[in-house]
């Protein structure tokens, strides 16, 4: 009888503990993460814009035959080539992984969802890298067309964090 009398109290304690654990697992807004998303997006976008500018310069010089233009063309081609930009892809990969680890450290459903989003961003950057390394250069138009959806993917990460900040459900 005495045992039964205490059971509801223990149940209540367990329930409260369980709720506390669940609450501690729920994602919460993190200013460092917010800043990190912006930083990774800006670094990635700056790299893409730099490549677009170089590709446009190549387009504007390739039909010119004077020595100065030919020299400028060779210079732009070298700067736009894969070898000169492998660091950009490496940095983007490392920054993205660091951000993913931070954002998915909380073991809840949104972490799984974020993993999918990170995978698609990583796959897109890998695809660009592969194309770049195989073809040597990427055209300005293709880069511009790749830039928009990649930024859209980062925007989704930003919206996720902003939703946490405003107390809305993340997704």
């Amino acid at each position: 009888m005495r045992r039964h009398r205490f059971l509801p109290a223990w149940h209540a304690v367990c329930l409260l503990l369980g709720l506390a654990i669940l609450a501690s697992c729920a994602p919460t807004y993190d200013e460092t993460t917010d800043r990190q998303i912006m930083a990774v997006q800006q670094t990635t976008d700056a790299g893409l814009v730099r490549l677009i500018t170089l590709a446009r310069r190549i387009d504007s010089l390739k039909d010119l035959s004077d020595p100065a233009s030919q020299k400028a063309l060779a210079d732009a081609r070298a700067k736009a080539g894969y070898a000169a930009n492998a660091d950009f892809y490496d940095t983007a990969e490392v920054d993205l992984t660091s951000l993913q680890l931070r954002m998915t450290a909380t073991p809840d459903l949104s972490a799984t969802k974020l993993d999918v989003l990170f995978t698609t961003i990583r796959d897109n950057l890998d695809d660009l890298r592969k194309f770049h390394s195989e073809h040597g250069l990427i055209g300005a138009r293709a880069l511009s067309l790749a830039r928009t959806p990649i930024n859209q993917q980062f925007k989704t990460l930003m919206q996720y964090e902003l939703n946490l900040k405003s107390g809305k459900k993340a997704a």
């Binding site: 459903l109 949104s110 969802k113 974020l114 999918v116 989003l117 995978t119 698609t120 961003i121 796959d123 897109n124 695809d127 660009l128 194309f131 073809h135 990427i138 055209g139 138009r141 293709a142 511009s144 067309l145 790749a146 928009t148 959806p149 990649i150 859209q152 993917q153 989704t156 996720y160 997704a171």
Partner: protein, 107 residues
Amino acid sequence: MAVDWTQVLAQAVQAAQGVLAGKWPVVRQAATAQITALIANAKAIEDAKDTMTEDEYELVKRIQKRALTGVLAGFEAIGIVAAEQAAEAAWDVVAGALRTATGLAFI
């Protein structure tokens, strides 16, 4: 041949909606914004039809579809397979319009 991109947008949205069915209301706003961006990029591909290579087109296509998949799958209600199918359905509509608009054999 000229393409009515406004109509293509409506058809692409409808195609994605058809795949996601009852879950559509949850993603409607984000998906419509993303598909609108897809249409804007399709118009840019149309403008670049004389210079864009098949490899470049394939690269851009993969990136566009993946971005849409990632955004859709980010919603709790949408699984990765459904997100991929919705992105594929929307892109099929866009690709059909692009074929008409550009006459490019590789699209």
